[in-house]
Amino acid sequence: MAGNNSKKMSLNKKQNLIGWFFLAPGVIFIACLSFYPAIKALITSFKTGVGVNMTWTGLSNYIRIFEDKIFIQSIRNCFFYLIIQVPIMLILALILASILNNPRLKFRGIYRTAIFLPCATSLVAYAIIFRTLFANDGYVNLVLVKLGILDSAYNFLTHPFSAKIVIIIALIWRWTGYNMVFYLAGLQNIEYSIYEAAKIDGASPFQIFRKITVPLLKPIILMTAIMSTNGTLQLFDESVNLTKGGPANASVTMSHYIFKKAFEGVTNFGYTSAMSFVIFIMVAILAIIQMKAGDKRD
């Protein structure tokens, strides 16, 4: 009996060990490459100084952030992108997904691919293409002038409002397909007979969308909303490559500003680390709010 018991224990232990063995590489990598630098950055954010000569300063970096007009401007810009771009993009993705989910639609594989394709492009490449499109002598201006909508070319990228709108258009183009794929996957899990039953009962397409598709996709909508919020607050490539944050910081994002502060001027890693943690806190708070608001379990 005793021998049998110890054998069982060792088997259990063995399985545990094997489990840890499989987990170990991932855990070690995440710890070394993600957690360790994050903790280091947190420590640095309580220090100040130029280059290597860092001294402890307590919370002064965090207090300083609230006096930094450009950083506050960049927060405003990010929230402008967030509030306008994320809802438009998610609604568009949802509509496209429900259209493309119709099994009777011909060539839907081609449509799906076409809409998903933008997110296979490199962030830098697409940002530069949008910059070229919206240039003074770019394609958009050419079309608008030829169609008689504009009298002369409008310089989209040198006006504060239009520069932001160009970034939003670019973001929608780049990310709608990406979110659509999540919705399509979610829609596969909804029994098609529910839709058929609704149709027999005489529900209009809009009613079906509102009463069946959206509620059943709620967990996925929540996930995409959190991911998009997170992504928008960390927006970097578009700001750097499309507008260079200009004109006069009108379209600069938080990450872009942090990068500029960290590498372009006289470096103060303490202050830039503090700014990154402010973004981190913002993302966390927004995610919690969205989860609390979206997660109404029945």
Binding site: V52, N136, V266, N268
Partner: protein, 456 residues
């Protein structure tokens, strides 16, 4: 079964791809040092391969970081050849590191405090030189008493790599300001290049309006959201963005205010065309929208890229700021200097190398001028015949001689440690002023921003 076959096939492809990647890499690694060393150390052929790879001290090899294959790296290679004539054991290991990469790499190395990863010699943009040299006081080797004849360099240029009166860098390329105009378009409007020589900005705007009316061409262009041209005007008048005590001095800076006014007038009258980014800026004059370019002389390479315009351009000096005491027609934009790091394995060798090449060899500058258009800041180089050769692209003008002469007249300019911050703040102010903002209040905002950036 089908799936199994597929997965086996796929993994085979992946493995094959990886192997292919490996082999091509090793091949490259095997051929590269060999070809390098065959160029550099001809006599020591037997030792080749191993020598060029090591960066350890005492073997006569120095590692260099620079960023442009056809320009500064080329110049370094030519310098190496010249030095090797008398020192056959000497060789350089030149690594191409783009300026953006260098900034991030230096940021990491310097803030970690472990300097062992630094090269022996590196090229540094002038506007950043003093930032690095004074932030990290043990980054560059002090060259003041190294025997390099610093008094043979243009004064304005030399100041870029000096901190507290000590020399930390050997000046390399010249960024003397040039104004280059299309003579054919000027002619259509009834002007010659002489009408645009030794003038001030008031006269420039007057001519510019006339040219715009008659031909539809703007007379100068700039990059939107950049304050480079303001800085150039400021330097030409001997102005500064800093007060004597190192604090930012934007407000009540009459010279700077005048620069802003001139810029706004250029912008409002349409005499100045703007491009949203660097490519569009270049396109304004290569594609024929703009009849003039005012920038550092390295811009000539971009102008010359439009080969069909050969013979139509002419070089002269820039307009001066009107109504400002000490205003000149000369300024500077860009340029770089060589620095020897404190991690240098053989400082004496590096110093001697510079003393006998970049700071002592007319032959070197004779080679790199026609080869890469690299204009010297080393004054004796201008006596060379190569400089007085007429250039066909500029209608037979001896452009290089002219520019070297300009360079010797450039007023000294204090860029300060916080130049990047100051420049960014000024660019914001300029953009807002062009959009209708008030100059005084925008300058106040800029000063506040820089003050904020400087406080830790």
């Amino acid at each position: 079964m089908k799936q199994k076959i597929l997965s086996v096939l796929l993994s085979a492809v992946v493995v094959a791809a990886m192997l292919a990647g490996c082999t091509s890499k090793t091949e490259k690694a095997a051929t590269e040092p060999a070809s390098e060393s065959s160029e550099t150390t001809e006599e020591a052929a037997a030792e080749s391969g191993e020598v060029s790879e090591t960066t350890e001290s005492g073997d006569g090899t120095l590692t260099v970081w620079a960023w442009d294959k056809s320009f500064n790296i080329y110049a370094m290679e030519e310098a190496e050849k010249i030095y090797q004539k008398e020192h056959p054991d000497f060789s350089l290991n030149i690594v191409e590191v783009s300026w953006d990469d260098m900034q991030t790499t230096l940021g990491t190395i310097l803030s970690s405090g472990d300097y062992s990863q630094l090269p022996d010699i590196l090229l540094m943009q002038d506007f950043a030189f003093r930032k690095y040299a004074s932030t990290y006081t043990d980054f560059f080797t002090d060259l003041t008493d190294s025997g390099i004849a610093f008094d043979e360099f243009a004064e304005g240029k030399l100041g870029m790599s000096m901190v507290d009166g000590k020399n930390y860098g050997v000046p390399f390329d010249n960024g003397a300001e040039v104004a280059v105009y299309r003579t054919d378009i000027l002619e259509q409007a009834g002007y010659t290049i002489d009408d645009l020589t030794d003038i001030d900005w008031d006269r420039f705007i007057e001519i510019g309006k006339d040219v715009l009316d008659k031909t539809g061409y703007s007379l100068v262009s700039s990059q939107a959201g950049s304050s480079d041209i303001i800085m150039q005007m400021l330097q030409s008048a001997g102005g500064s963005i800093w007060n004597g005590d190192g604090t930012p001095g934007y407000v009540e800076n009459e010279t700077l205010k005048k620069c802003m006014e001139v810029y706004k007038e250029l912008f409002d009258t349409g005499v100045m065309e703007t491009g949203n980014n660097w490519d569009e800026y270049i396109a304004t004059f290569t594609s024929g929208k703009t009849a003039g370019v005012i920038n550092g002389c390295w811009i000539l390479a971009s102008i010359e890229s439009a080969e069909e315009q050969s013979g139509l351009w002419a070089v002269t000096n820039m307009p001066s700021l009107p109504g400002v005491e000490g205003a000149t027609n000369y300024s500077n934009q860009g340029g770089s200097s060589w620095g020897i790091t404190t991690n240098c394995s053989d400082v004496e060798l590096a110093e001697d190398f510079f003393a006998s090449t970049f700071a002592g060899s007319v032959e070197l500058y004779d080679t790199i001028l026609p080869g890469a258009g690299a204009l010297a800041t080393w004054i004796p180089a201008a006596d060379s015949d190569v400089y007085s050769e007429p250039q066909e692209f500029y209608g037979g003008e001896a452009v290089f001689e002219l520019i070297t002469d300009f360079a010797s007249k450039v007023p000294e300019f204090d860029m300060g440690v916080y130049y990047t911050e100051a420049n960014t703040a000024l660019a914001t102010a300029v953009t807002n002023v062009c959009a209708g903002g008030d100059i005084d209040s925008e300058l106040q905002t800029a000063e506040d921003t820089v003050n904020f950036d400087m406080g830790n």
